[in-house]
Amino acid sequence: MIMIGRRLLRGYRQRQVTASGSGRPAPPVWHRELSADTGAPVIEARDLRKAYGQIQAVDGVSFTVARGEIFGMLGPNGAGKTTTVEMLEGLRKADSGVAMVLGIDAGRDPDALKERIGVQLQASSLYPRLTVTEVIDLFGSFYQHRRPTEEIIEALDLGERRDGRTSELSGGQQQRLSVALTLVNDPELIFLDEPTTGLDPQARRLLWDLVRVKKEEGRTVMMTTHSMEEAEELCDRVAIMDHGHILEMGTVSELIQRRFKDLSIRFDTIPGLDDARLSALPGVSRVVHEDGEIALYTPDVASSIGGLLAATTAMGAEPKNLAVRRATLEDVFLELTGRALRD
């Protein structure tokens, strides 16, 4: 262990010298030389298919991810997200279709790929009786190119637990450690499978910031998530998946605008105000009941609200909790899959 530590330190010093050799003080050069940007996609999935027995888990999935993109995959449990990601990681062979990742056919030459990608798996625990530092050191030893353990511990804010056994970490800390391990080889492409599940809001922010830093460095991130907020906040593009298919793909605002050109006016249900009256209000295109709430979809909020208030005043009532809302990714998701995403 000590020997490896020294070797690392030596490497670090040498690199610093090289970096400052140019005349002006430069930050130490640490990063893996990213392969030349040819403009080719970092991930290219072409008609991927995978069945487990009778169940067609992935049924013809095609998409591309460009360099420096944060690409999110949303979908209910069992949608085929994890299987898709694992085919791209070289962990599973596709029944048919091609997964080109960093210019490598992931199905044919997974070993060449593994050196250059970072992978976080859902529900993977670690050596329970090793400490955080030991596990990161261990994983580092598997790669030709690695970053210093201490830097990774800092990046994921695991400093306080560096000598704690992984079995004694909280759920959130284990999750952070599993993300930390994706960084040991300074990967060009990082796969995260529901990385913020179980994280508290602060740790989640920390992780999002980390992902953004990786993007700025020119790295690519592909993630699956259960969290709409995470997809809206973090992802450049998202794909919504269900039953092994990609239902919709694009930036979050594209997805919303494609389906929901209208805004919604929401208020608590008023007894006696029926749908026929509501539909007849100016501009209203659609009336939806949701949990004791009515949503009126309209391209013209001003005249619809005017009509609504006139109608309720005539009834001697008043719309309570009146709000105007733009559709969210969640609305798109609900509309596409017919179910809500639950954590």
Binding site: E89, L91, L121, Y127, E134, F139, N185
Partner: protein, 360 residues
């Protein structure tokens, strides 16, 4: 090389931090040695059963016999040399004294003669005591007879016994048992790592599977080495059992035995889906392996219907080989056969686990 070393160190750390594993692989076999050793070697107390082959038949030899008797330390049994040696080899006697013809004449003519003494070299403490008693009696006889030069000299000869029920029999058996457990128990962490998706996580790195399996085997072999040293040391210090055979052969069989049982552990890991089922399967495998083999009871003493089963068990052959090379025990099979049977089990379990072991 670096991943192999790092992974081996990680495995050793994981192992040494697991108290249950330490108990079963280190403390348990030592307890066994102490327990069995005290039960089976405590019985003889301070009297030794010695065969007395009197080929002289003169009053002088009768007087010598009386001198031995009077010590109260030796219980003499008369017989011919051939019979007594056979009894000793069977473990019924602790030593044999042969009085050469001409003892009476030597006393009468002031000549010299030798007294043959056979003891079991694997029973160090016991043999040393017998030798001491015999030489004291002989010295006294010499002094009494002439007061000058020694008439009788003792011709000390080693005779390996098949001394069932002594520490010399059990120490190699317990070593064999410990190596078997060390091997089959390798299934449990392996299944645990699969169940917790650690193996899957590892397969997302450039680490190759040969390195992974290699580091597990290296760790187990290091533990096997440690067990061997501990068990032999405890057997030596407490019960005077020493290795009389070639250390290289002992090491060779320790390695062959360990690797064979590790691969049986991989077979278990191929069929167990959860850690619980791995635990259950390991017990299901290890107890028959242990008790249906010839390591604790000679196969000849087993009921007829068990004998064919014991004859198939790999532990029978590991115990047999270790007993032969460590304490020179009477062979059940030749060393070549022992090695061949173990190699056969190794090959078969390797093929089964190569075919059925699942990484995810």
């Amino acid at each position: 090389m670096r991943p192999l070393i790092a992974l081996t160190i990680a495995n050793i750390k994981s192992f040494t931090r697991d108290r249950a594993a330490i108990f079963w692989t280190i403390a348990f076999p030592i307890l066994f040695v102490v327990l069995f050793g005290s039960i089976f070697s405590g019985g003889s107390g301070s009297t030794f059963k010695i065969g007395w082959a009197d080929q002289d038949g003169t009053p002088a030899s009768t007087a010598l016999r009386a001198a031995f008797d009077s010590t109260g330390l030796l219980k003499l049994t008369d017989g011919t040399e051939t019979d007594l040696v056979a009894k000793m080899a069977n473990g019924d006697l602790d030593g044999v004294i042969v009085v050469q013809p001409g003892l009476g004449a030597a006393f009468a003519t002031d000549g010299t003669t030798t007294l043959g003494l056979r003891t079991d070299p694997s029973q160090q403490t016991q043999s040393a005591t017998i030798r001491q008693v015999v030489s004291q009696v002989v010295n006294a006889a010499n002094l009494q007879a002439t007061g000058k030069s020694a008439v009788i000299s003792v011709d000390d000869e080693a005779l390996q016994t098949n001394n069932i029920g002594t520490a010399a029999y059990f120490v190699p058996s317990i070593l064999a048992m410990a190596l078997m457990q060390l091997g089959v128990f390798s299934a449990i962490p392996l299944v645990e790592q699969r169940e917790k998706h650690i193996l899957k996580r590892l397969s997302a790195t450039p680490l190759n599977r040969a390195t992974l399996v290699g580091s597990n085997i290296i760790m187990r072999l290091l533990l096997a080495l440690m067990q061997t040293i501990l068990i032999v040391a405890v057997g030596g210090v407490l019960f005077g059992v020493s290795i009389i055979g070639s250390l290289a052969l002992v090491a060779g069989f320790v390695v062959l035995g360990s690797v064979t049982f590790i691969s049986i552990g991989y077979v278990i890991a191929s069929y167990a889906k959860t850690e619980e089922s791995a635990n259950a399967l390991t017990s299901m495998v290890q107890f028959p392996l242990m008790f249906l083999s010839g390591i604790f009871f000679p196969i000849a003493l087993m009921p007829d219907f068990l004998r064919p089963i014991a004859t198939l068990m790999p532990l029978t052959y590991l115990g047999d080989a270790l007993r032969q090379v460590m304490v020179g025990g009477a062979p059940f099979a030749s060393l070549a056969i022992d090695a061949l049977v173990l190699g056969g089990w190794l090959a078969v379990s390797f093929l089964i686990s190569a075919r059925y072991f699942r990484w995810q």
